[in-house]
């Protein structure tokens, strides 16, 4: 199963340990991960379901380029990392 991990910049707001989730796409992986910490969803996604513009999502260390298209296929063993993008000063 893919793993999903949120950086400490996010988990300091809402605790959520790294986890393995049953998911075929990135969208499913995030949705399943949020089940363990529902309040975290609003920190990562906006109300239209897009990744917030100052949050970055990586799949196997490669950043996704389209914040709204999360139907990226995942393989068992893929690693999803969600971080606070270093924007601004």
């Amino acid at each position: 199963m893919p793993t999903v991990e949120f950086a400490s910049a996010l988990t300091r707001h809402v605790a959520c340990a790294p986890q393995s989730v049953d998911a075929a796409t990135l969208r499913e992986a995030l949705a399943n991960a949020f089940r363990a910490a529902p309040a975290l969803q609003g920190y990562v996604l906006d109300e239209q379901g897009a990744v917030r513009k100052h949050v970055a999502v990586f799949v196997n260390a490669r950043m996704i380029s389209d914040r709204s298209r999360l139907d990226i296929a995942l393989q068992p063993g893929d690693n999803v990392l969600v971080i606070q993008a270093l924007t601004g000063g």
């Binding site: 910049a9 996010l10 707001h13 309040a39 609003g42 920190y43 990562v44 906006d46 109300e47 239209q48 379901g49 897009a50 917030r52 100052h54 949050v55 606070q84 993008a85 924007t87 601004g88």
Partner: protein, 294 residues
């Protein structure tokens, strides 16, 4: 910024937290901030429940709303206003305004209802103390909204909400740039009440268009709610008839450009403005206004 009802205190929301300044025997004392390091855009006290609400605009993680049921700072996160899914068909599918809340720009408690004005210019209401929110469609889906303009921000926003102390179903809201709007049925129907306002910077044909007036802030006299004061992009205004008609006031010494206005709670003839030097040079001082007459 808000004056606390239960004590002589001033609550100040800043980009670096929520500060409480309390008066004691030796003067005013600044306490440790709530939400240290976080931008606090709005604060509201609900006198009927004793609760206090603080709206945060986290730079990376969006708008959050926190509630202190005891009003003194034991905070719990509650739901924040959020737009419904943007339509994928119909009149609003190509709406140029994003359907995502960027900031809570106004937050007011009325009898049994909490109101939030946002950037972009959605008005939301909560009847359960912030546990859930509903977008006020009757204003958001008005065709006039397509003509609203962003002022200092990329998109138009609602920065002023005034709940009539005589009638909680009567709200006055102000939009930059979209004029002053009122409802007398708790948000079912709306009327633009910007008559008398003039947008000097617009093309001559549009300067008196009520739907593009750039109101920066509206305040209401608590003891005489038919008296309202407005700091407009192009002047100071006062209304004596519940915002149906606005009278442009003579410019104070520094200029008639500014953002802030506060109405005296009991003296309907007095308000305070903070005029800037000019639109192009946004520094300045303060002005106390007493109208009519000195």
């Amino acid at each position: 910024m808000a004056a606390s009802a239960q004590a002589q205190a001033i609550w100040v929301g800043t980009r670096k937290g929520l500060f409480v300044v309390r008066r004691n025997a030796s003067g005013w004392t600044l306490g440790a901030p709530h939400f240290p390091g976080e931008p606090v855009t709005q604060l509201a006290f609900d006198p009927s429940s004793g609760a206090c609400y603080a709206a945060l605009r986290l730079g990376h993680f969006g708008v959050k709303l926190w509630k202190s049921a005891d009003g003194v700072g034991t905070w719990q996160q509650v739901s924040a206003p959020a737009f419904p899914p943007k339509p994928v068909e119909g009149e609003w599918k190509d709406d140029a305004t994003p359907w995502t809340v960027d900031m809570v720009w106004a937050l007011e408690a009325g009898p049994g209802t909490l109101w939030a004005g946002c950037l972009p210019a959605g008005l939301f209401k909560s009847a359960d103390g912030g546990a859930s929110w509903q977008l006020v469609d009757s204003l958001w889906l008005r065709p006039e909204r397509k003509e609203w303009l962003g002022g200092g921000y990329d998109h138009p926003g609602i920065h002023s909400i005034l709940v009539d102390p005589r009638n909680g179903n009567h709200l006055t809201v102000a939009v930059s740039c979209g004029g002053v709007w009122q409802t007398r049925d708790a948000g079912t129907t709306w009327t633009n009440t910007s008559n008398g306002m003039v947008a000097d910077f617009m093309p001559p044909e549009r300067r008196e268009d009520p739907n593009i007036q750039d109101v920066h802030r509206v305040a209401q006299c608590a003891a005489d709610p038919d008296v309202l004061w407005a700091q407009h992009h192009g002047g100071l205004y006062r209304s004596d008839d519940g915002a149906l008609n606005w009278l442009r006031l003579a410019a104070p010494a520094i200029s008639e450009f500014g953002f802030a206005v506060a109405a005296h709670p009991t003296d309907p003839a007095r308000a305070w403005f903070v005029p800037a030097h000019s639109d192009a040079e946004r520094v300045g001082g303060r002005a106390s206004r007493r109208d009519p007459g000195p």
